[in-house]
């Protein structure tokens, strides 16, 4: 029972947040935290658990966002119906690029993913069907409730919360099953993991596909909320980096790491932008940069890494 205490309190706080914080901006802030937490948690599966640092995950985010809004633009169907298409596209693309790139180790994998993401952005910028440089818009004036276009952020908040719970549930299940153990083993030593029978290429690919599909869901949810995507906002490298930073800040490879990272960085960015952005001196990013640097310097394992290492006995054995 004790084990469930803190997750329980977290759950209650998350459920109660929009009821306690009632201004539209606070509620939107909450929704954004959850949205980024979903994306970062999805990234965490392959980047955190498997240790394959993808810096091109925005490709999958873009799949979701573009699938939703392209479906609406070309057929008039509600964007939410594009979500399965986005997942299918993301998983398909992940299968195509994952097979060759997952063989690469360390920085080579990171570089390959950056290249793929930039390629996707450039091609989309020149593809009329995907709105080219202008981008795609959603139904700004909702036609039916299925368009999921709300003035208030509260419906988005609970929708995102539900998806986050599913994402974390999948991650939790994975963490405790054989594939989760294999992923962590591969992160530490792929050679050893394979010698013990872990089918590393297959295991990594499964994680990559799962991560891609969930990231795509985050992209679709983004499209539902903002109802607009263009190459920079849907496929820009900054979004990949944000997923990575949030997961790393909270603790990569830990279940709640990305949520903690998002809960710190999203409000930090939005609030500092609100308070300082209008002065136009770039102070928001100075602050943002400084905090990231400090975390990397003093807590390289992320904020939750502290609790993780405190839990386990630190003394040296027979060294």
């Amino acid at each position: 029972m004790k084990k469930l205490l803190w997750p329980g309190i977290t759950a209650v706080l998350l459920l109660a947040y929009p009821l306690v914080f009632t201004t539209p901006f606070q509620q939107r802030l909450g929704a954004l935290v959850l949205l980024y937490a979903i994306a970062a948690s999805a990234w965490n599966i392959v980047g955190g658990y498997a240790g394959q640092i993808s810096v091109g995950h925005v490709v999958f985010f873009g799949c979701g966002a573009y699938a939703s809004l392209a479906l609406f633009t070309h057929t008039g169907l509600p964007p939410v119906l594009g979500m399965p298409l986005g997942i299918a596209a993301a998983v398909g693309i992940a299968a195509i690029i994952g097979t060759p790139t997952l063989r690469l180790s360390g920085h080579y994998f990171s570089m390959a993913t950056i290249a793929v993401a930039e390629l996707a952005r450039l091609v989309t910028t020149n593809t009329e069907f995907l709105g080219a440089a202008v981008g795609l818009s959603g139904p700004t004036v909702p036609r039916t409730w299925l368009d999921l276009s709300f003035i208030s952020s509260v419906p988005y908040y609970y929708l995102f919360l539900a998806v986050l719970v599913i994402t974390l549930g999948i991650t939790w299940w994975m963490e405790r099953s054989r594939i989760g153990f294999y992923l962590r083993a591969i992160r530490d030593s792929e050679k050893a993991a394979r010698s013990l029978g872990a089918r590393a290429p297959r295991v990594k690919l499964i994680a990559y596909l799962l991560s891609a599909g969930l990231t795509s869901v985050a992209g679709s949810l983004y499209a539902l909320m903002f109802q607009f995507v263009d190459p920079e906002s849907g496929l820009g490298i900054l979004i990949s980096v944000k997923m990575l930073i949030m997961a790393a800040l909270g603790g990569a490879g830990l279940l709640f790491g990305p949520l903690v990272g998002a809960a710190i960085l999203v409000p930090l960015e939005e609030i500092s932008n609100s308070l300082l952005g209008g002065r136009g001196a770039g102070l928001t990013f100075v602050l943002y940069g400084a905090i990231i640097v400090l975390i990397a310097r003093f807590r390289p394992d992320g904020i939750l890494g502290l609790f993780q290492s405190a839990r386990k006995a630190p003394e040296k054995h027979d060294a």
Partner: protein, 243 residues
Amino acid sequence: MLEATGISKVFGRLRAVDDVSAEVRQGEILGLIGPNGAGKSTFFNCLTGDLAPTTGSVRFLGEDITTRSPEARAELGLARTFQLPQTFTGMTVLENVMIGAFLRTSVTAEARERARRILDIVDMAHLAQTPAKTLGTPGRKRLEIARALATEPKLLLLDEAMAGLNPTEVRAAIDLVRVIHGMGITLVIVEHIMEVINSLADRVIVFHQGREIARGTPREVTGDPTVIEAYLGKRASRAGGRT
């Protein structure tokens, strides 16, 4: 149970292993020895699947495994340890062993149970919840063996499992290998400590400059003039006798 036939491995212009054949018989302990750079580790890695031999073939339990991946070999019952321990530093000792155990079960609780039994065997049960990164070299070497055992191998390949250990630790490790052998597991050990080979191996293959220069029982081999010349020469003459 394992047959390697005509194995050669070429790196660029270097012939690291040149036409070596070996057979491992059920239930025996085979030693591979030779000075550094003699090619024994390269040959070893061709057996484990980490390197693909340039020519030659490897058969295990009657199956051709020359091009099989390391994980496929593990599944067939071929396990190995690494010269430099490849510990999963982000896990506990128990979790390290569970990785091996997962080869034979996909159920986490089951894997944990099996891992615990293995830790009992290797006498590390008290360290189960310890983070593996806090182990020193002897602990890590032992953990390597425990992980490999958890895969329930028929043949276990040990790569310099005693290197870097002090005499007491070496004796403990030799005892452990005997226990493993007693469980009916066939072993191939790569070693440069003759003491280990002498006390453990049934047969020995001696490598020099990528070739096999002698094979036989440890006693036969250490008496072989070619071996003394190539490998033991200096040491033997300096010591004024044979080990």
